[in-house]
């Protein structure tokens, strides 16, 4: 991708190599589990073979006597409940198991293999319980209740659990009068959808190494996107003074939201406590990472859209049933965030959304690159059905309904002048996919090529007081050290933030060193590296820190340069008189204090401080959804081209494109990589991924032998373009883009397949067999 903003900026808009690249490609980077503290013990987890069962007894006697074993613990040893928003999760199952793969016991031993070997000696007696297989089943009046004690669970106020049912949260959006609008609409389409839960399959399985130091300090090194969230929850749930908890956050090998909550840290701490505070390593096996730890949320939905004859949307009536699995984790907030974003970047005057987070006996769910934005797939499919009913081009239909500044969002917040340009994104996506060539081409011999389009938007879903901080310190050569609370999760934000500081200083990004790991007792506070908010918020804090440092540099330099602060400028590693650039000082002679020839020193070291806190956000009303929860919306359009063999349903995805309004592009290559990575991930769960359950709710494909994800070499051509409506309050006008590449792909892909075969395909994943069986169904309309 060509560099774009070169004329206006020196370091922004340039694809400088990522700072974490050399250590990663050479295998030298130290991930969470690459550290082996002296005296470290190793834990292994015994997991449930059942989806829903009473635990009658657990006998760890034989395991406890096995070689090298230091402790065998079960849920009975830890009478506590953990949770992000809703405290529903025992560290180890207690009384009963609620999903296949749920940890029921842990063995701590001197070596990893002793711990693993001893697991075979733990005896567990279960009594199987009726299994809840889907959100729709969970809502049936006679459904087994998965969390009998829900009424006693603690939760944050924006979450609305419904005790005596399987509903962990219900979010309502009520905008306008949907019933009246649907009654008057010229065309109404209504469709049902579903897709199964799955997994992120991050390359790095989750890991936590916990120890309790002699002074009571709890130190946990974790593969976490959210060290400060972990620290706060550890303090809340275990009563540890927050300052006595240190979370170490090294770079992680893929997070995608799966490492954004509290994961293994609580259990690792309890395990360390069980062995007198010695360091304990708890590292997921791949199989545990697939089903014992949380994965991608499943969804069932019923979507109804009404429009006028000329293609203006008048109403959206939306029912979303998120499949939370056995525990709530982030899912209770994802169902809320999905409701806030549905039906997507369209100006719809009447919206009624009921978005439920529903317990089932599936492995539990958490954030998955996006946050409940699975809601777009049903809507985008329905938009194509609507276009067909209206005899209208799907691109035109979407553009006609694009949300614009001044329109009301689903939560009835006024869209501000920063609102991205969806019409332009649609136009670009259509151009890139070759829409003008016809969206369905019969190639003969049973082969058809077809294209599908979709739109998406996403704002960070985060607490209203979400903040970020940056501290800049300086070295003898004038270079800067940047410390923030964000984690390198492969997204490249360290590089982007360095470019932002470099731009402000007018010095090479090589002169901005970013700390590769964070420790919560040293780094400025931050919420989490999630929600596509890091570059925006930490970028803003970095600008503030840079300005603060520059002010200090000027103040120190103004004395030896014998001028006023206002007359000075900083660039090219110097501070100099603006109108006489030869008159100045090298930064290296200022940043640690200026020393006069006679030895007198002034100024002291420069420490730049910057912070940012989200502006003007509110929660939403429990009954109408009214409120202002969205900091900035990133809007875009995507399109997919497929070639399908109608004889047996086999197909190839030929091309996937994305046009996204990101404001300013800080680093084009990294931005493109984020978007392409998102599209690739999304094609994975759209085409092939997802758990397969047997009749007892057990996961049949709980190993990578059977849980297939696309590999390099199996991908289509990707094309990405950026539209640049500046985000006024973003750093240099930039807005977030880390997750958005995922969001429109399921809809665009399903639309392409549906168009190719002339029948709607409303379930994911769309495998060749699903296409074949859809084509061989007798009834019109078919699935589901």
């Amino acid at each position: 991708m060509p560099d774009v903003s070169g004329s206006e900026y020196r370091y922004l808009g340039r694809s400088i190599p990522r700072k974490d690249g050399p250590d990663k490609v050479s295998g030298k980077l130290r991930y969470a589990d690459d550290v082996h503290p002296p005296g470290c013990l190793h834990a292994a987890l015994l997991t449930s073979p059942h989806a829903h069962a009473k635990i009658l007894s657990i006998d760890g006697t034989a395991a406890g006597a096995a070689p090298g074993v230091r402790a065998v613990v079960t849920g009975q040893d830890f009478p506590i409940l953990l949770g992000l928003y809703l405290g529903d999760t025992p560290p180890l199952a207690r009384g009963k198991v609620r999903h296949f793969g749920e940890p029921v016991a842990a063995v701590i031993a001197d070596t990893p293999y002793q711990a693993r070997a001893a697991l075979d000696l733990v005896r567990v007696e279960y009594e199987q319980l009726p299994v809840v297989h889907s959100p729709r089943e969970a809502l049936a009046s006679d459904a087994p209740i998965i969390h009998e004690a829900m009424a006693s669970y603690v939760h944050i106020p924006p979450i609305h659990p419904e005790p005596e049912s399987n509903v962990a949260n219900r979010t309502r959006i009520r905008k306008g009068d949907v019933d009246a609008a649907l009654a008057e609409a010229d065309v109404v389409v209504s469709l049902d959808f579903d897709f199964p839960p799955g997994d992120h399959v991050a390359m790095e399985p989750r890991a936590a190494i916990a120890e309790i130091r002699a002074d009571g300090t709890v130190v946990i090194r974790s593969s976490t996107q959210a060290p400060f969230v972990v620290r706060a929850l550890m303090s809340t749930f275990f009563g540890i003074p927050i300052g006595k908890i240190v979370i170490e956050g090294p770079p992680i090998g893929g997070g995608f939201g799966g490492k954004a909550g509290i994961q293994l840290e609580g259990l690792a701490y309890l395990l360390s406590r069980s062995v007198g505070g010695r360091p304990v390593r708890l590292v997921n096996s791949r199989e545990d990472d697939l089903v014992a730890s949380p994965g991608h949320i499943g969804l069932q939905a019923t979507v109804k859209l009404g429009a006028t004859r000329d293609g203006k949307l008048v109403a959206a009536d939306l029912l979303y049933l998120f499949d939370s699995g056995g525990y709530a984790d982030y899912a209770v907030n994802m169902s809320r965030a999905g409701a806030i974003a549905a039906p997507g970047p369209y100006n719809v005057p009447n919206i009624r959304t009921d978005s439920l987070c529903v317990y089932t006996n599936h492995p539990f769910a958490t954030a998955y690159r996006g946050f409940g934005h699975e809601v777009f797939y049903p809507v985008e499919r329905a938009m194509d059905e609507l276009a067909a009913e209206l005899g209208m081009d799907p691109v035109v239909l979407r553009a006609r309904n694009a949300i614009r500044p001044g329109d009301l969002s689903p939560t009835q917040s006024v869209m501000d002048p920063n609102t991205g340009d969806l019409a332009r994104c649609l136009e670009r996506a259509a151009e890139m996919i070759g829409w003008e060539d016809g969206s369905r081409i019969d190639l003969g011999g049973g082969r058809v090529r077809a294209r599908g389009i979709s739109a998406f938007w996403k704002a960070p879903a985060m607490p209203t007081n979400t903040d970020a901080g940056v501290v800049l310190t300086f070295n003898e050569d004038g270079s800067a050290n940047l410390s923030s609370g964000i984690i390198e999760i492969g997204q490249g934000t360290y590089t982007g933030v360095a470019q932002i500081v470099a731009e402000r200083f007018g010095m090479s990004p090589d002169m901005v060193h970013v700390s590769p790991e964070i420790q919560t007792h040293r780094a400025p506070h931050d919420w989490a590296t999630a929600a596509s908010r890091s570059l925006f918020m930490v970028g803003r804090a970095a600008l503030a820190a840079a300005d603060d440092a520059i002010d200090q540099i000027k103040r120190t330099a103004s004395a030896p340069l014998r001028c006023s602060v206002e007359e000075l400028a900083v660039a090219d590693g110097r501070v100099y008189v603006r109108d006489d650039p030869d008159h100045g000082l090298a930064l290296r002679d200022v940043v640690l204090g200026y020393v006069y020839p006679d030895g007198n020193a002034i100024g002291g070291q420069v420490i730049g401080r910057g912070n940012y806190i989200a502006r003007g956000l509110t929660d939403i009303d429990a009954y109408t959804g009214e409120g202002h929860p969205a900091l900035e919306w990133t809007i875009g359009a995507q399109a997919v081209e497929v070639e399908v063999d109608l004889r047996d349903g086999s197909y190839e995805v030929l091309k996937a494109v994305c046009a996204m309004d990101v404001g300013e592009v800080i680093n084009p290559a990294l931005a493109r990589a984020q978007v392409v990575g998102g599209m690739a991930m999304s094609l994975g769960f759209s085409t092939t991924e997802g758990y397969v359950f047997d009749r007892r709710g057990r996961v049949e494909n709980a190993v990578l032998r059977d849980f297939k994800i696309p590999r390099y070499g199996e991908h289509p051509v990707y094309d990405v373009d950026f539209v640049r409506t500046p985000q006024g309050d973003g750093p240099y006008g930039a807005r977030g883009l880390g997750e958005q590449g995922v969001l429109g792909i399921p809809g665009a892909f399903a639309n392409a397949v549906s168009r190719a075969i002339g029948r709607p395909v409303n379930r994911l994943p769309i495998t060749p067999e699903r296409i074949w069986s859809t084509l061989h169904e007798d009834t019109e309309g078919g699935e589901p």
């Binding site: 990893p112 293999y113 693993r116 070997a117 075979d120 096996s285 199989e287 004889r647 047996d648 086999s650 085409t687 092939t688 397969v692 049949e700 494909n701 190993v703 032998r705 059977d706 297939k708 994800i709 696309p710 590999r711 070499g713 199996e714 994943p765 495998t767 060749p768 067999e769 074949w772 069986s773």
Partner: protein
């Protein structure tokens, strides 16, 4: 991680391999010959297999042979699949050996694919069609037998016996062939259908795997394919029925879909080869 200890043998001759097996077996160890170890490693780390001893055959020259001799093409059982593919002397085999990804094929051995635990054994199909001879060695010494006599769904080896190599007549490797592989979605997955067809002296031979859950070569199946009294369009369905086997039905593909894929593959093979 294999969470238990095991004994590793690295023989450099067939005699040493057999002796190693005897030694381990007498010590009461569950013993496996192996080439690549991909199956052993992946099963053992999850506790589905607990080998007590493994015997690495990669350093036995006979197991690594890849050559033509006496009008036959010889393939050592220890060859990694990429060596078989790049050897190129048997085009249908080179095609059928393109399974999983390149990195795994650098390890995965021909003998392991045929004699391992996984039921698909895709690389055996070309050999079943090509009058292959299997070279075996065991406690009673070496023997050469027609592959079809020792292969029924899986390789029927005596206790302690090792597959050294397979050989096929050069002439058969040059006959017309047709190959079809279908997966649930990603080609790195196991097949839901793999079918190989060759035409030898005017007669079509077929072998499939995955469709029926394991490798199948059936004279009754081939008889239908070659029966001039049956209209060509009816032969796919009739041949499948003639095999008299239940079609596999599981999470990767339903029986109905597999049957449709198999009928389509046979139809296209007949078009290509008749």
């Amino acid at each position: 991680m294999i969470p238990h200890n095991l004994v590793y043998y690295r023989p450099s001759s067939l005699e040493e391999a057999v002796a190693a097996y005897r030694e381990a077996d007498e010590a009461g160890l569950d013993t496996f010959y192996y080439g690549g170890g991909t199956e052993i490693l992946t099963f053992a780390r999850r506790g589905n297999l607990k080998p007590g001893a493994v015997i690495d055959i990669k350093h036995i020259p006979e197991c690594m042979a890849l050559r033509e001799e006496g009008g036959r093409c010889l393939f050592g059982a220890g060859l990694p699949l990429n060596a078989v593919i790049e050897g190129g002397s048997f085009p249908l085999l080179s095609r059928a050996a393109v399974i999983v990804d390149h990195t795994v094929r650098n390890r995965l051995s021909l003998g392991g694919n045929i004699a391992g635990r996984l039921p698909y054994r895709e690389t055996v199909l070309p050999f079943l069609l090509a009058d292959a001879e299997a070279r075996l060695v065991g406690p009673d010494g070496e023997r050469g037998v027609p592959l079809r006599e020792v292969f029924d769904r899986r390789l029927k080896l005596e206790s302690g016996e090792l597959l050294i190599s397979l050989s096929v007549p050069r002439a058969i490797t040059e006959t017309p062939w047709f190959y079809r592989r279908r997966v649930r979605k990603t080609r790195l997955d196991y097949p839901v259908l793999t079918a190989c067809f060759v035409k030898v002296e005017g007669q079509i031979r077929a072998a499939t795997t995955a469709a029926f859950g394991f490798p199948v070569w059936s004279p009754r199946f081939d008889d239908v394919l070659n029966d001039g009294a049956i209209p060509v369009s009816e032969r796919p369905a009739r041949a499948i029925d003639a095999a008299g086997l239940r079609i596999a039905d599981n999470a990767r593909a339903s029986a109905a879909y597999r049957r449709a894929l198999l009928e389509s593959a046979i139809g296209e093979a007949l078009d290509a080869l008749l």
